[in-house]
Structures are given as structure tokens and as C-alpha cells.
């Protein structure tokens, strides 16, 4: 632990900047109802007459709209802040669910081995043989068919979280399974087995804290991936409805107007998405190196 705290003190500048950037975006998104100039979900707050106004700094800009407006006359900055909030909530929710499910299944598979392991990991293999987007499209599409309400602003986020998590849990399960197998063979686990503690207690109290390091790292990196997946799904039209846009929805809307010279609707949300994913990824990469004993203490 001493070497860990020493490494924490030697955080490179790039990681500091990336971390600050990601934190700033997340904070702005979380506080969007307070800091956004308009409420893009309130239909009375915008006017179709204001549609497709360019950013303030360009020649025909309107001083009310810093980054211009979208095709329905919404303030783009406000829509982006609200959209980032939706994206991060869905991404974070998907990561949380995937991590909890994956860690539990990985613990079971690694601890019991045999058929438990075989069943869980083969299901995981089957799921991983589908591309993330394809599986998520499938889940979201089927959900929409079965419950027409699934595309509403209330239900869409829940469906999206499930559609993304169903693919991501396998990574956690694999990592935790391998770590659990290593830890199970170590003498401190054998010692509590000799005592006769129930398996649940051995797994949760003794093994779990010793396998959590890599989970934290995967979660950070996956957060960025999940936000991207959500954006892609929304871009493809099975994500958030246009009335309650996420970053991906905004990019999709903007995409239709790019060739008519209305570049800002797609560009600004895309930039925000890139910065958010980049920031989180750099921090995640650094965390991964920090927890990798092979890379620690060099250089």
C-alpha cells in the first residue's frame, strides 16, 4: 500500500488534466438544470422560429444562443448539457449493473468451478460472440416491439442500460473468475475452508476484497465505452427520443443537416462526447497501469 500511495503522489500532468476535464464535464452535466440557460425538455421554452440559428460568434448569430440552436429552435448548449447528463446516467447505470452482475457471476464461476463455471462462462462466450451494438440493437428493438412504451422518455433509459449491460458483464465475470481461481488456491482461503465457513461468507468477506482492484479499472474504461454505445444506439434511432435528447440523439439530428451547411448541431455534441470519453479513458488507462504490479515501480 505504501508504494500505491507513493504512485498516487506522482500523478502525471496529462492524467491531472484528463481527470479535471472529465470531472468538469460530469459536474456540468449533473448541474445542468441549474446552469443551463434554457430547459430543452420544456416545450414552452423554445420557438420553432429560432430553429437552426448559428452560434453567437458567427455572422448571423443570435446573442441568446451561445452555440446556436437545433432544428426545433432549442438552445444547443442547454440541449448538450442535458444530453450529457442522460448519456452519463445511462453509461454509469450500465457499468454499475454490468459490474455487479459480472463480479457476482465471476465469483461463483471461479469459486465453485465445474459445471457452474462451465455454464456461466459458456453463456458469456455466446454473448461475446455478438458485437455489442448488434446485441444492444436486438434487445432495444425487441423491447420496443413488446412494450410500445419502451421508446418513451421514461422507459428508454432503462431499456438502454439493460441493452448495454447485457454485453458488458462478461468482461467483469472473466476477470473476476480468473482472479478468484488464483485467490481460492491460496492458503488464507484454504484456511477458512478448513474452519468450515459457509461459501457465501468466504466469497464475499475473504475473496471479494482481494479481487476488486482490476474491477475498478475495467469500470472506468467501460464507462467511456458505455457512453459511446449509448450515443451509437441513439444515433441509430433506437435510443433516447428526440424530445429528451442524449448526446447521441443530438448528433443524429445534426447529421441530417450537416450537408445543408448547418454544421454546429452535430459538431458541438460530438466534441463534448470526444472530450468526455478521452478524459475518462486516460484516467482509466493510468489506473490500469497503477494496479498492474508488473508495471509498478519501474522508470
Amino acid at each position: 500500500m505504501a508504494s500505491l500511495s507513493r504512485s498516487l503522489r506522482r500523478v502525471p500532468l496529462s492524467v491531472w488534466l484528463a481527470g479535471l476535464l472529465a470531472l468538469a464535464i460530469i459536474a456540468a452535466a449533473a448541474l445542468s438544470p441549474l446552469i443551463a440557460p434554457f430547459n430543452p425538455t420544456d416545450l414552452t421554452s423554445f420557438n420553432l422560429m429560432d430553429a437552426e440559428l448559428p452560434p453567437r460568434f458567427s455572422a448571423e448569430g443570435d446573442p441568446r444562443f451561445l452555440l446556436g440552436t437545433d432544428n426545433q429552435g432549442r438552445d444547443l448548449l442547454s440541449a448538450m448539457l442535458y444530453g450529457a447528463r442522460v448519456s452519463i446516467l445511462i453509461g454509469g447505470g450500465a457499468v454499475a449493473i454490468a459490474a455487479v452482475v459480472g463480479v457476482m457471476l465471476g465469483l461463483l464461476a471461479g469459486y465453485f468451478g465445474g459445471w457452474v463455471d462451465a455454464v456461466i462462462m459458456r453463456i458469456g462466450d455466446i454473448i461475446l460472440s455478438f458485437p455489442t451494438i448488434l446485441l444492444a440493437l436486438l434487445v432495444a428493438g425487441v423491447a420496443r416491439m413488446l412494450f410500445p412504451a419502451a421508446s418513451s422518455a421514461e422507459w428508454a433509459p432503462i431499456i438502454l442500460v439493460g441493452a448495454i449491460a447485457i454485453h458488458e458483464w462478461v468482461q467483469y465475470a472473466r476477470t473476476v473468475r480468473a482472479a478468484t481461481m488464483v485467490e481460492s488456491a491460496r492458503d488464507y482461503v484454504r484456511a477458512v475452508k478448513v474452519i468450515g465457513l459457509p461459501s457465501r461468507q468466504i466469497m464475499l468477506r475473504h475473496i471479494l476484497p482481494n479481487v476488486m482492484g482490476p474491477v475498478l479499472v475495467i469500470a472506468t474504461i467501460n464507462l467511456a465505452a458505455a457512453v459511446l454505445t449509448e450515443a451509437t444506439l441513439s444515433f441509430l434511432g433506437v435510443g433516447m427520443p428526440p424530445t429528451y435528447p442524449s448526446l447521441g440523439t443530438l448528433i443524429r439530428i445534426g447529421n441530417e443537416f450537416v450537408f445543408s451547411g448547418v454544421w454546429w448541431i452535430a459538431l458541438f455534441p460530438a466534441l463534448l462526447l470526444v472530450l468526455l470519453v478521452l478524459g475518462v479513458n486516460i484516467v482509466g488507462d493510468w489506473l490500469r497501469d497503477l494496479f498492474n504490479p508488473k508495471l509498478r515501480g519501474r522508470g
Partner: protein
């Protein structure tokens, strides 16, 4: 030994600058010389600086370590091992390391490993190099050398791999060989072969060998001269017979006294440092009072056995989903023995003989394939056994080999020790359990503040004491000790073995002691079973077994184990002077 020395180390001082400032002096004022054909042993416990000297000679000091002062000379020519080109590792000095598996590249054949070394230093074409590789394999006594050339490391046994490593080290006919614990990872019989080989190289080729080891028996068997180190300083140096028989320094005397003897059974090991026993006596009396009903008497031959194992069979890899089909490996093959109450029963054998598997089955970590185990008359393993879950396990506890992995690094010691006490409901409240933990900590000779700390604050020996305390906390009747001291220094081993003896005397415990070390078994056990390939070859009262072994295998083991009683040059049986 009057010839000019091959290696001369003079007043060597090796330092490690610390990142917090200041320096750690790993070696201070080390001086030694090695003549042609001389094997010089460098012995000491972990942290003594013996490997550091070996690495310094090889130019392999780990950064930021550096030679601060002193000189190293090879064949009279002083050299700086840190400067490349001065003296070349592989050409002028050969190196043999501890683990023959990791010192060979698993992806290359034996031929390519040796040829690579040869062609790196000598102008040989491929054919000449191959011929020379073959010669080298013959020289190190490899069976069927032609066939072995195209083998990969995993196809060879541990002893054969170490022969290949030695062949590589000899490739360019170095004047000096640095062997760092060359036989520590090997079984007794293979160790004997490798030691013979090293001795032969020194005698026939006049190579000087710097042998770094912790094993006094190895020193006695093949070294000519010895240097004993302690915390970076040379404690004593001289001819082997003189140093081992009549050590002058206090530390040397204590260290040699702590080596378990195989010829006589001692009551206790002489203690190295005055370990503060503190309230250990009172704590143990209290433990004994709690044990209550158990009579503490000498184990009688006609007593009802506490544990009886009948025709135990254990197969590995026979499961439906194990992916190995029906090819099972039989680790234990029809083993039967009984342990009487209050006795220390020893299981001894080389690696892979099935002794640890038996420990796991007795402790309930693995189900047997066949046979039955009875504990106190009740069947606990086998077909008619009731499932051993929860509290049914209390009476049998276990102590493990590796003290660094046997304690959960993320839990406080007090928490670890309280776990069995609370689980078995031996204490009604957490406060009562904490009081119990304090008592246990004292009984194993550790200070009272121990419970508040995390395992990483303790040394290997202290951790092993904690492991023992955890086992005692369950108030067991039988403790299975699986190689309890084999990863410890010899002085710490002596302390732990003394502790086990004291605890047994105090509480009337029964012990099943599993070890590869015949001397440890000799010092600890009342009765011994010798195992080989999953079967018991001989089972006897300890005194009888060591005085007059009946089975050939036992006799062979006893003859091969290097001991302090047989010192080279002293009317030696095996090397004839």
C-alpha cells in the same frame, strides 16, 4: 590451496540508496578468496547479503544497488562487474540459479539454448557448436544426450533441467561458477546428484565455485571453505570442518545449533535470540484448562486411535467436465495409518508422493475417491460419511506452508483470529472473542498489540505463529501441519518447531506433521510413515525408523540427505577425501 586465487573479494561494501534519503548497507567489509578447484560456500539466513555478493560478482546487482568500496579480482586481475566488456558473464564466469524451470526459456530446445550461449562468446559454426553442446551434456551426466538436444525444457525433469543450466554455464569453460541455491528447488535424491556433479567439476576441471546457500547440510557435504554471513557482515570464515565443528562466533554457534539433527532427537532446539516468551506460560496453562477433559499422557500403543485412515485412494482429473477424459492421475493409492491421541505423527516423502493430498483430505479440503477416514470413531470421509459442513469441522484444523499467503492481507490480525472463535460459537460476544484472541497471541509468544495490526507488519516466522494461533482458536483436537517450516529460515524454523512442541506439551494436542525434511521429522515425530508414489513404504516408531530403516527407499533417502554429521574431508563415506 596455495595456488593463486581465481576469485578474490576484498573489503566489499554494497549500498542501496533509499528513496527517502540515506543508504542501506547490504554488505559491509566482505572478504573471501577462492582457489582453483575450491568450493566456497556463502551461507546465512534471508537478508544476510549472500545473494547480493553473488549478484555483485556476476554484475547483476539490482538497481539502485552499487559497489561503494572494495575490490573484486578474477585470476588476479581486478575488475568492475558493472562495466560491460571487462569480464563477461557467460565467458569468464558461469552462473547457476535456483529454479531450473525459470532459468531456461520454455520456447527453445536444449540445443538452441546451449548453442546460443556458445556462439555468443566463441567463433564456432553451427555444426561445431552442436558437437560441443553434446560434449557439454555428456560432461554434466545427462542421460541420452543425443535425444535430449532436441527436447524442450518441460520435457525434462527438474534435475535434468538443472544439468542443462550447468551445461550452459560451463559452455565457455569459465574459471569461476557462481551457484545461487542450485539445489533448493530439487528433491533430496536429485539434489545429491547435482551436488556430486558440482563437486566433480571442481575436482576434475579445477573450476572455482562460489556456492550461495542456506542449507548447512549442503555446505557440509561439498564445500571446502565456508563464510557465514549475518546482516551484511562476515561472521566467521574458514575451512568447513573447523567452522561447522568448532564455530567461534556466537551467531555461528547459534545458527549451527538451530539446524535440525538427523542422528539424535533433542528435547528442544537451542534458541537463537532470547525470544520474549512473556506471558506465554500462563496463556498456555489457560488453554490447557479449557481443553479440560483431555488427559495429557504419553501416547500409548494400545490407545484407541484418534484418526484412522483406511485404504485411502485419491484420483485427480477424473471429473466429467475436467476435459482430460478418463485419464485420471492416482495421487494417493491405498494408504492406511492410524494416529493415536496425543501423538505427533509424521508423513515424509519427496515432492509428488501424495503427502499434501493426504493433508487436504484429512482437513476436509478434498473428497477422497475411495477408502474411509474415521475421527474419534466417527466416519468423516468416505462413502458413509456425513457431510463435513460448518461446525463439524472444528476438531481438525490446519497450518499451511506459506506464511505470506495464509493470512488475508486485507483483514486485521484480531479479526482473522476471531473468525473461527465466533463461527464455532466458542465466545458469546465480540469482547469475549477479543479476550480469547489476546490469550492466543500470548500463547504463541507475540506481543499483545498484535491484534490491531495487519498481516504485512509481521515477518514470516511471526505470521506462522499467527497461523498456529488461528488453528488453536478453534480448540481443535488434531492439527494438520503441512510443511509448516519449509519456507522459513533455520533459526525461525527452530523457534516454530519449539513452539509446536510446547503447545503440544501444554494442551495435549495431536499433530499430523507433513514434511520433506527428514531431520525435522526426526526432531518432532513419535511415529513416521515414509511415502513414495502415493503409497506408504515404511511406517515405524520414529526412533526405530531412523536407527534401523527397513525399506530400501528409506535407507536411500537417509543416505542422500546432506547433514551436518557428515562433513567432507572428515572420514567421509561418499567422496573418500
Amino acid at each position: 590451496m596455495s595456488a593463486a586465487p581465481i576469485l578474490a573479494i576484498d573489503a566489499l561494501r554494497i549500498e542501496y540508496p533509499l528513496s527517502e534519503g540515506g543508504t542501506l548497507v547490504a554488505v559491509e567489509g566482505a572478504t573471501l578468496t577462492i582457489a582453483p578447484g575450491e568450493i566456497h560456500a556463502l551461507v546465512g539466513e534471508s537478508g544476510a547479503g549472500k545473494t547480493t555478493i553473488g549478484n555483485a560478482v556476476l554484475g547483476l546487482l539490482e538497481k539502485p544497488g552499487r559497489i561503494a568500496s572494495g575490490a573484486i579480482a578474477l585470476d588476479g586481475k581486478p575488475f568492475d562487474p558493472t562495466k560491460p566488456g571487462d569480464i563477461r558473464l557467460g565467458r569468464d564466469i558461469g552462473a547457476v540459479f535456483q529454479d531450473p524451470m525459470t532459468s531456461l526459456n520454455p520456447l527453445f530446445t536444449i540445443e538452441s539454448q546451449i548453442v546460443e550461449t556458445l556462439r555468443a562468446h566463441l567463433p564456432l559454426d553451427r555444426r561445431a557448436a552442436r558437437a560441443r553442446a553434446l560434449d557439454l551434456l555428456r560432461a554434466v551426466g545427462m542421460p541420452e544426450p543425443e535425444r535430449r538436444l532436441s527436447a524442450y525444457p518441460h520435457q525434462l525433469s527438474g534435475g535434468q533441467r538443472q544439468r542443462v543450466v550447468i551445461a550452459c554455464a560451463l559452455a565457455c569453460e569459465p574459471r569461476l561458477l557462481v551457484a545461487d541455491e542450485p539445489t533448493t528447488a530439487l528433491d533430496v535424491s536429485i539434489q545429491a546428484q547435482i551436488l556430486d556433479l558440482l563437486r566433480g567439476l571442481a575436482d576434475e576441471r579445477g573450476i572455482g565455485i562460489l556456492l550461495v546457500t542456506h542449507n548447512m547440510g549442503v555446505v557440509a557435504q561439498i564445500a571446502d571453505t565456508v563464510t557465514i554471513m549475518h546482516r551484511g557482515h562476515v561472521v566467521e570464515s574458514g575451512p568447513v570442518a573447523q567452522v561447522l565443528r568448532r564455530p567461534q562466533a556466537d551467531y555461528a554457534r547459534a545458527l549451527i545449533g538451530a539446524v535440525p539433527r538427523i542422528d539424535v532427537r533433542l528435547d528442544r532446539f537451542p534458541m537463537l535470540d532470547g525470544v520474549n516468551q512473556g506471558n506465554a506460560e500462563t496463556a498456555r496453562t489457560e488453554l490447557r484448562r479449557r481443553a479440560g477433559t483431555q488427559e495429557i499422557a504419553a501416547p500409548a500403543a494400545d490407545a484407541v486411535p484418534l484418526l484412522s485412515v483406511e485404504s485411502l485412494v485419491v484420483d485427480y482429473g477424473a471429473g466429467l467436465l475436467s476435459g482430460r477424459g478418463s485419464r485420471a492421475f492416482r495421487a494417493v493409492d491405498g494408504v492406511s495409518f492410524e494416529i493415536r491421541p496425543g501423538e505427533v505423527f509424521g508423513l515424509v516423502g519427496e515432492s509428488g508422493c501424495g503427502k499434501t493430498t493426504i493433508a487436504n483430505v484429512v482437513a476436509g479440503l478434498r473428497k477422497p475417491t475411495g477408502g474411509t477416514i474415521r475421527f474419534d470413531g466417527k466416519v468423516i470421509a468416505g462413502e458413509a460419511a456425513a457431510p463435513r459442513v460448518g461446525r463439524a469441522r472444528r476438531a481438525i484444523q490446519m497450518i499451511f506452508q506459506d506464511p505470506y499467503s495464509s493470512l488475508n492481507a486485507r483483514m486485521r490480525v484480531g479479526h482473522i483470529l476471531a473468525e473461527p472463535i465466533l463461527f464455532y460459537e466458542l465466545a458469546r460476544t465480540r469482547a469475549e472473542a477479543a479476550a480469547d484472541v489476546d490469550l492466543l497471541v500470548q500463547a504463541v509468544g507475540l506481543p499483545p498489540e498484535t491484534a490491531q495490526r495487519f498481516p504485512h507488519a509481521f515477518s514470516g516466522g511471526q505470521r506462522q505463529r499467527l497461523s498456529i494461533a488461528r488453528a488453536l482458536g478453534a480448540r481443535p483436537r488434531l492439527i494438520v501441519c503441512d510443511e509448516p517450516t519449509s519456507s522459513l529460515d533455520v533459526s525461525v524454523q527452530a523457534q516454530i518447531l519449539n513452539l509446536l512442541k510446547d503447545l503440544r506439551d501444554a494442551t495435549g494436542l495431536t499433530l499430523l506433521l507433513i514434511s520433506h525434511d527428514l531431520a525435522v521429522i526426526r526432531q518432532m515425530c513419535d511415529r513416521v510413515a515414509v511415502m513414495r508414489s502415493g503409497q506408504i513404504v515404511e511406517m515405524e516408531e520414529s526412533e526405530t525408523l531412523f536407527a534401523a530403516p527397513k525399506a530400501d527407499y528409506t535407507r536411500q533417502l537417509l543416505a542422500l540427505v546432506p547433514t551436518l554429521e557428515r562433513i567432507r574431508g572428515e572420514a567421509d563415506i561418499r567422496h573418500g577425501g
